[in-house]
């Protein structure tokens, strides 16, 4: 077992897609040679957001929708840490959608993993931002009116540094994506198709299995326009793999360029020196 797995009792339904995701992420972390103390997992609220508790690492389990700003703050002041924000589609794309957009702009060196099962689990089966139109639930008995959200297309349209799609039924593929995303220097978004066996009777393991296919080797993930086209592919055929990547300067490097500083855990100068420096400005 990966040193990143712990003995905490898991609160997910038997057969949940989260189990595979948990195993694959833990293995990816250990295969990358990371130590648990170097890694911080940040999450929001929801069934997916419990995942960090089952991983042996530093954890900040915060508010619903707010894992990305917390992850940003951690990485900004200590860029040595490997910071991963992990939560469900409701948390990342619904409650926290605004933070996702702005994190793409900031390009901090963090990885965002979204357990995307197209439904709300913890609150028992309501439609999520990625649920398909006409999805029926207790709160949407007539079927959802809204169209579904396309996180990958959105990310590419904003020239995200790295975005990939994985599937919890594709172990090697998912693990490889996790490794690439965590190693990627910059903001990386991984949308993981992760079937909910309790509340989503449409997008099941079988439904995904019939549709997913790995991106062919000749696919060029560095062309933004063709990547955008690829990101629109959904329905009968769903591509898996790294859909787009673009090497860009990351937030902490730009801060280093501007401030000449990387580590913000202590003030740069003694307060008395600061005060003596500032005092004449008030005369």
């Amino acid at each position: 077992m990966s040193p990143f797995r712990n003995q905490i009792e898991i609160a997910w339904c038997p057969g949940c897609g989260n189990f595979n995701l948990l195993t694959d992420l833990s293995e990816a972390l250990s295969e990358l040679g990371l130590k648990p103390s170097q890694v911080v997992l940040v999450s929001g609220i929801g069934q997916a957001a419990k995942a960090p508790h089952y991983i042996q690492a530093n954890v900040f389990n915060g508010l619903h929708g707010r894992s990305i700003p917390v992850a940003f703050g951690i990485q900004a002041v200590n860029p040595e840490l490997t910071v991963i924000a992990e939560s469900g589609d409701g948390c990342m794309y619904g409650e926290g959608g605004n933070h996702l957009i702005h994190a793409i702009r900031r390009n901090p060196n963090i990885t965002v993993i979204v357990h995307d099962n197209q439904v709300y689990g913890l609150t028992k089966g309501q439609a999520s931002p990625t649920s398909e139109t006409d999805f029926v639930s207790k709160t949407q008995p007539l079927g959802t009116v809204s169209e579904s959200f396309h996180p990958i297309a959105l990310a590419i349209s904003q020239d995200v540094s790295f975005v990939a799609r994985g599937f919890t039924g594709d172990k090697e593929g998912l693990k490889s994506i996790f490794k690439q995303a965590i190693q990627w220097k910059g903001f990386s978004l991984v949308d993981v198709l992760q079937p909910c066996v309790t509340f989503n009777r449409i997008n099941t393991f079988g439904w995904y299995r019939d549709r997913v296919y790995p991106l062919p080797e000749e696919y060029d993930p560095e062309d933004q326009v063709s990547a955008f086209k690829k990101s629109l592919e959904w329905g009968d055929k769903i591509p898996l793999g790294v859909i787009y990547r673009h090497v860009k300067s990351v937030f902490s490097d730009r801060i280093f360029e501007k401030l000449g500083r990387k580590d913000f855990l202590n003030p740069t100068s003694n307060y008395q020196t600061v005060f003596e420096d500032e005092k004449p400005g008030f005369e």
Partner: protein
Amino acid sequence: MPDLTITIGGEAGQGVQTIGEVLSRILIRNGFYVFSIQDYHSRIRGGHNSVQVRFSDQPIQAIGTDMDLLVCLNPETQEIHQPALKKDGIMIGTISSTPSPSLPSSMISIHFNEMAKELGNRIFANIIAVGALIEILGIDEKIAELYLEENFQKKGKDIIRLNKEALALGQNEIRRHQISRKFLDKRNGSQNPGNLFIVGGNEALGLGAILAGCTFYSAYPMTPSTGVMNFISSRSKKYGIIVEQAEDEIAAINMAIGASYAGAKAMTATSGGGFCLMAEGLGLAAMTETPIVILDGMRPGPSTGLPTRTSQGDLEFVLSASHDEFPRFVFAPRDPQDAIDTMIRAFNLSDYFQVPVIILSDQYLADSNWTFSQIKVNEQPKNTQTVIGDQNYQRYALTESGISPRALPGMSDALVIADSDEHDEIGHLTEDLELRVQMHQKRMKKIEKMREKTRPPFYKAGKTATIVGWGSTYGVLYEAREKLAKSGVDVGLLHFNDIYPLSKDILTFIKSVPQPVVVEGNYQGQLARLLERETQTPFDCRINRYDGRPFFVNELVNQIREVLS
């Protein structure tokens, strides 16, 4: 003792603030104590703006009331401000050519802009106005010239020369007129020039945060707290501080909490509306026991309210913001010197107790400048209290004090597990209800030790009654008390900067003060209600103001007389 009040009014963008700033600097260099305040509308250009500069050769610490001098940069200024001009006051600038017979004030029509154009640029209008003002007042122009030399040093000799010419033009323009009134007996104040400091509220709050060791500031701009962000940003390179403009206040507080969890001293600032968005984050800081300092620069509400006006309406909100119960400190600095010290204490105490500290400022404090004969750092910033943990480290270890040793992620083999859910000692979420009780008690019991750290209120005893207030009203209440005392009404002053939690001794003491009259910038008397709750004693004599303006000494003196009669 001279105590003069000058108002400069005009459209936003006309240089009202520059005239106020330059005049204030020249006055303090001449040894005068200055109190200045901006009064502006929520617009970039246009709209009516004004700056009030009050000065004296004795320490002053409140906004002035009736004006001795009014500078009109546009016709609207006369309309708005003339009613508050003293009978022997003087008005200069763009004024109506047909003075009303009911207004005996002297008027000198000066076309600053036209004169400036003759010098080659409209920009000189401001210094021409300053020249006119120092001539009317009888201020030493040599010191004004020296100031211009210093201020425009970087812009070159030509600019300095032109500014000096502008100053002289303004002076000469006044010399052509007979000034009916002598404003000052001597050209200088009591202090040796160069010995005074003029500090604004927002600058002081920003400086305090930097001195405290803040290295991460995330915020969404919101009046009147934006000036703090401007101050810290302007020094971010010099002192190595990340200043991040967040997409909203929710992100701002969560970013700061993340930075603090990782070990940085972090803060955020906003006004009431932004604080509403931060409420859930406030609870997150409390539940995860992550230190954070949050500044709320108050303005009238509810909702958008009056964006550029002042208020003390958020006290009850910040005392109970976010659901369920948790300990927090609430401080309200009284002036810029106190703001520097309060900010340092806020960071120290937030770190020591691992609790949120809320600082209440307001537009009056934010946008005012106070003069001090010296400024000091009275508090010592402390290093973050952390431990190096091992594999058995427990972030929420149950301790007698309720404070658990805090390790930082990535600094040792210890894993730091923080959770917004109720959690066990390690930090993992739990539904064990007995453990919940222990954890809630662990957090709540910090409050008893926190009480011991709050400072007693300022107290000056009086026989007849006691004026009670908090935060930025200190200076006004202080001067009102002095005025009343001089006229034979012996009232005391009880003024709070540390508002919550109060120690048992303080609570016992305040029950004994004679006839409290609680003066607050809100409708319900929020401090009064807090004191009633905490002491089980009525504080029902209250003076409240909620029109968006600060308290004024003269009005308040009359109001206090009335309630006591």
